[in-house]
Symmetry: D2
Subunit: 365 residues, 4 copies
C-alpha cells in the first residue's frame, strides 16, 4: 500500500492539498511515551512554507491536531496515533482547464491516466509537497525516540545550483558546525552564494535543484539485513517518498564507481576495543548492515518543475499541442524545506529498523 | 522479510555460498505458463562466472533444478515455483581464521555482530554474489512474462573504470545497437578500452567499478503509485538487493540537481494521439507513476572489495590491529556479471507492478 | 499491524472510546467511485446504540466526517479515503480506580500488562465496541462495491439466548424473507421470544450471547487460495476483529465433525451448464476457494461481559482480592448491533479477495 | 501470499503431492540455534501415514533434507532455513479423467476454475494433506524454541465420530495425563471406542471427523494485539491452513453463546502475587491478548471426503452429470495425523507472536 512506510514503526499518510485535511496515522509507537510537542512544532516549522525568501509566500498554519492515540495523561496508549492538519480555504480555480493541460515535470499527466481522470488536480492533490508535513510529524516523533537510543540525525545542503559546500569528515562529521537557517552548510559564505543563485533563478522565472546529505551518528553496528531489507533498501524506499527526489546514494555513492578497490575499501582498526574504519567511504553500511560508523546518504533533488516561464504542453481533450503558463506562487527552490523532510525520512526508517532488531535482541545462546 | 521481494510477483531467495543449495521460491506466476527454459538458461549463463577474462576462473554449473510448481505438462499450476541450484564441493578452509579477521569492504564484520558470530563465513555465506543466480532465474521468467505485455528490458555498461560509453538517446534508446558480449556498450571501441582497464587493474592486484544503465521500453503510462510505492521506490528496493550497489538514480538523476527547471522539465507533445515528451530527462517516471516514455535507471557499482593487495584489518578475538591478505580467485570487475542482475531486478519489480495494476484495471465508471 | 485489515481493500481503524475521534483510513478504493452516502448512513445506523430496547440508552451521533480522499466532484480520487467520527463529551470518572480493578471478561487486565499500564482505560479505550463504527463505515462502502459485482451479503441471528431461528436453505438462502428490525430472523415469532429473553436477562442484571449466520450470494467460483490465504483464513481474521467473537465456522462447521464422509460431501450436479452442488454443507468453500455456492459463516458471540451483578476481581496495586460493581449503562445483548458488524467484516474481506483475484484475471493462454 | 504464514517467524510452504519435492523455507529463526533433529523427526513421524490402522497403508519416507540455512557447525546462521522432502515415485494414472470429474468435498472443481484448468490434479496437487509435512517441520522447530521460553503445547482428540473424551480442567489442563498413541485422550477407554468407530466406518467404505483441542501452557500475560492481529486472528489463520478444518473456537467457543454473562465471565483472583482467573472459560485470551491462563483452541475437522462409496458428480468437459468412484487407499479418519498438525500450527503462530512482542519489550519509561 503506497501511502504507508515501515513494518514496525509504521506511518500511513493521507490527504490531498485541497482536501479538508491531510494527516498521518502512526502504529508502533511504544506505549507510555509522552512526546515533546514543542520540539515537534519546531521541527515542522522548518518545513513550513513562507519561512524564508526561497519559498512561496503562502502561509500555512500546519498545526497538527491529535485525533487519537493518547491516554488521559497525554501518553501514547498503544493505540495508533492519528493526527490531522486542517487545510485552509483555497482560492477557487478553473480545475477543468488544469485537468486538460498537464504541467511539464509534474504528475498531472501520469496521474490522469492512473486514476482514469478522477485524480484530484487541486493544488497537486495527493502529489503535493504539502503531504510532507505529516511525514515531518512522524519523523519528529521518531527523532525523539532515536535520541533516547543515542542516535542523532542531521542533514546539510551539500550542493545547490551547482555550488558545493566544503567537505565534511565522513568518519567524524561535524554536525554541530553546520550553520543555522534555511541552508545548513559548513561554510556560511557558501550559503550566501546559494541564496543569491536562488534569487537569480527566481528573478528569471526559473528554479534550481541541489543535493542533500544526511548523517546518522550513534547507530550501533549489526542493524539491518542482507538483500532486500538492507539499510539502503529501507532508507531509499522512504527517501523516494519525498517529491522531486531523483537519486539516492550511500557513502561515496556514484563516485565509488570510479575508484579502485584499494582506493575504496575502508581499512578496519581497533579503537579502545571497538571496531572502526579509518575512513568512511562505505557510509556506515556493508552488506545492508550497519558497521557502527556514521550512516551517510545523499539525495538528489530536481529543480522545482513549477516555473513562471511558458512551456509547451498538450490538451488532453483536444489531443493537440498547446502552451502552458503556470500561475500562482511557487518555491524557486525547495531544498531548504526538503532538508527536514530528508531527516524525517531517515528517522522513520531507522527507528523502524531499531524496532525490527529487537526481535533478534535475545540471540540464541 | 529480507530475502523476499515483490508483493504480487514475489520472489524468496535462499542459500549460502557453501550451503548444500541456493535457490528461489516464486509466488504469483500465472497458472498455465510454460517457461522457455532455454531462454532461462541463456540468460543465467550471462551471469555465470568464468565466462570472460574479467571474471573469476571458477566454474559453476548453476543448473537450476525445479523442485515444485509445474503440472504434468510442465506448465505452472498455481502453486509456488521452487527451484534449487546445487552448490559444488568446496575446498576446506580454516574458517576460524576467516571469522576472526574481517575483510575490508565486505559484510564479514557487520554480519558477525548481526548474527552473534553464527554467520556462515564460508564463501561469503548469504552475502555472496552467488545468490544473484536465483535472482537471475526469477528475472528470466519475469522477462518472458513482460515480453508478452510488450515490455522489453536491456542494460548497458555506461561507464567502467572512469571510461564512458557514448551517449544514448533517452527518448528513443537504441537497444538493438548495443554490442554483444560481456560489456554491452554502444561504441565497441569503448568496450575494448574498458577491457584493458580491467586487465590493468587485475595485473596490479586491484579491482574497478562502474555504472550500469538499464532501460525498459514499451511500458504503458499510468503504472505505479505516489509516495512509498512509486516506480522508483520499488525498483530501488530490488536494485539494492544486488551486492556492491552504492547508488541508484532515475532519468538525469544527480545531474538533474544542477539544472534549472526550464532546462530539466520535459515538454509534452501530442504524437499520433498519444502523449509523449520531446526529451526524456525524467526517465519515464513522474510522481512515482510511468509516463509511457522509456524508464531509465542508473546503478553505481563499487569496485570489488576482494583484492590481492594486503590490507589493514583487525583481529576480533584479540581486539588488535592486523594485516589481511585475501587468497583465492576473485573478479577484478563484477560489472559484466552484474548487467544481467540489473536487468533481472528491473524485470522482477516491473512485473510485480504490472500485476499490481491489474487490481485497478476495471476502474469505476 | 493490528489495526489494519486487507491487502488490497485495506482498512486501518484508529481511535479510542474517549479519544477526540475514532475513524478509518481506507486504501484500495477504485478511483472515480461516488459513494451513496445515504446508504452508508443507513447501514451505520443499524450499529448505532440506543436504537432498540436491547442496547444501551446512550446516544451517539456517529456522523462520519470525510477528511480526505474525494475530488472536487465528490468521487474517490485514488488517494486514501480518511474519515473520523468525533467522540462526544464524556462524563469524568475516577480512571485511577478503573485501572486498578480489572473487569472480568474484559481486556482491562491483559491490556494493562501489554501496554505497561499506559493503556487508555476510559470507556474501554481501543478495545471498545465503539471501534466497530469505522468498521461498518468501511463495510458499507465495500457492500456497494460488491453489489456492482453482483454479490450480496446478509446476516441473521440464528440463535440467541439458546433460542434457534428456523432452518435456512443453505443452497438457496431466503435472504429476502428475513424480517426487518434489530433481530433479523426467518420466523418473526422467534424474534419475539429472543427479545423477551434479553429483557429477562436485563431485569436480572445479566446479559446473553448468541450466534450470527452470515451469507454471501452471487460469489463466483474460483476466488481465494489454498493454505493460509483461503476464504476462511481471510474472513476469520476479519471476524475476530469484532469484540466478543469466540468462534467461527463455515458451512456445517462443528456439526460436520459428527458426520460421515458420505453424509457431509455435497454431490455435484450440472445445472444449465453451471456446476453446482445439490446441498451446501461446505458453505461455498472447498480448499480455501469459492465453489460458486453461497458462502455461509457462523459467528459465536459471547454474552456481554459488563453486567450489573457484583463480581470477584483483584486490586492490581494492592495485589489483593476485591469485589467489583460495574456502573453505567451497558447492552444486555450486543447481537443486534453485531449483525451489521459481521456483514461489514464479510464485505471488507470479500471485496479484498475480489481485488486480489483481478491480478490473475488474464490467465495465461 | 497464500503459502506463507507469520510476520516474524515466517514459514513458506511449497510443493505438490506428485512434484519432485515438497518443502519449506523458514525466515526469522534466531541465529546460533542448533535444532534437535531427533525431536524434529519424532514429531514428524506422528504425522506420517501408515503409522496406525486409521491411516492409509501408503509409506512415505518424509525425511527432511536441509538445503540451506546452517553454518559449518550445524547452527542456524541468520539465512533462511530451506528444506525439502523428496516425493517418491508415484503410480501413473489417467490424469485427464481425474481432471474432468471433480471429487465431491475436494478442491478439484474450484481449483480447476481458479487455475484455468492448469492445476496439478495428481494426488491432490498443492491441496494434498501431504503439504502438512513441511508445516510439521516448521512447527517442530517452533516447539523447541517455545520450550526455551517455558511454553508447552499439546493437543488431544476431544471428540471423534460423535464420541467425547472426558472433561479437561481448563484452568489447569492435565497434559501429562493424555495417553500415548494416535488418539491422545484423557480416558483410554474412549480411545478404544473411537478406534472401533473408525474401523466400522472404514468397513462401510466411509469416513469420520472429529474435534481437536489444543492447549498452550506457560504463555505469559500481555502477548497479542487488539482487533485484527489478536491471538485468535493469528492462530486461526494458521489453523485454517490445515486441510479439512471447518471451524475454530477459543475457550468455551460456541457454547459461550448460550451462557449468561454471569455464567461466562471468569472471576479474577490474586494467587501468590499473580493475577489468575478462577475458571478459564475465556481460554487464555481477552481482547486478543493473553491473560496468562492456558490458551485453549478447538478445531473441527470434517470427515475425509475421499470415500469408497460411489458419488454423484459431473463431467466438466461434457457438462453432464455422472457418477464417480474414487480408487486408491485413503485415510478413513485423518484426526490422528491432524493432531500434530494442530500443535505445529499453534507453535508457529505463538512463536511468531513471541518475536513480535519483543519489539515492545523495552517499554517507554
Amino acid at each position: 500500500m503506497s501511502n504507508r512506510i515501515g513494518d514496525n514503526y509504521s506511518v500511513l499518510i493521507y490527504g490531498q492539498s485541497h482536501a479538508p485535511s491531510i494527516g498521518a496515522v502512526i502504529e508502533g509507537l511504544p506505549a507510555g511515551f509522552k512526546p515533546d510537542w514543542d520540539a515537534v512544532g519546531a521541527f515542522m516549522a522548518r518545513r513550513a512554507p513562507g519561512s524564508n525568501a526561497m519559498s512561496t509566500a503562502r502561509k500555512e498554519a500546519d498545526l497538527p491536531e491529535i485525533l487519537a492515540g493518547l491516554n488521559e495523561n497525554g501518553e501514547t496508549c498503544g493505540a495508533p496515533l492519528a493526527m490531522r492538519i486542517v487545510n485552509g480555504d483555497h482560492r477557487s480555480t478553473d480545475y477543468a482547464k488544469l485537468k486538460d493541460v498537464p504541467r511539464p515535470g509534474h504528475a498531472d499527466y501520469p496521474a490522469s491516466v492512473r486514476y482514469n481522470s478522477a485524480n484530484d488536480i487541486r493544488g497537486g492533490g495527493q502529489f503535493s509537497g504539502r503531504l510532507t508535513a505529516p511525514l515531518c510529524f512522524a519523523g519528529a516523533l521518531a527523532l525523539q525516540l532515536l535520541e533516547k537510543e543515542g542516535i542523532r540525525i542531521r542533514a546539510r545542503v551539500s550542493r545547490l545550483a551547482g555550488i558545493d559546500d566544503i567537505e565534511m569528515d565522513a568518519a567524524d562529521p561535524q554536525l554541530d558546525a553546520l550553520c543555522e537557517g534555511p541552508l545548513p552548510v559548513l561554510d556560511k559564505s557558501v550559503a550566501e552564494k546559494m541564496t543569491e543563485a536562488v534569487a537569480q533563478a527566481k528573478s528569471e522565472g526559473d528554479s534550481v535543484g541541489g543535493l542533500i546529505e544526511c548523517y546518522a551518528v550513534g547507530v550501533p553496528a549489526g542493524l539491518g539485513d542482507p538483500m532486500f531489507d538492507g539499510i539502503e533498501n529501507r532508507l531509499t524506499r522512504t527517501f523516494f517518498g519525498i517529491p522531486a527526489v531523483r537519486g539516492v546514494e550511500f557513502g561515496l555513492g556514484f563516485k565509488a564507481a570510479d575508484l579502485r578497490g584499494s582506493e575504496h575499501n575502508d581499512a578496519y582498526r581497533m579503537e579502545d576495543g571497538t571496531v572502526r574504519t579509518v575512513t568512511n567511504r562505505h557510509g556506515g553500511i556493508l552488506g545492508g548492515i550497519t558497521t557502527g560508523m556514521p550512516i551517510i546518504a545523499r539525495i538528489a533533488i530536481k529543480p522545482t518543475p513549477s516555473i513562471a516561464k511558458a512551456q509547451p504542453s498538450v490538451s488532453l481533450s483536444e489531443k493537440s499541442n498547446t502552451e502552458l503558463v503556470i500561475s500562482g506562487r511557487h518555491d524557486p527552490c525547495i531544498i531548504p524545506r526538503a532538508v527536514p523532510c530528508v531527516e524525517a525520512a531517515m528517522a522513520i526508517a531507522l527507528y523502524d529498523i531499531i524496532l525490527e532488531s529487537r526481535k533478534e535482541s535475545s540471540q540464541w545462546t
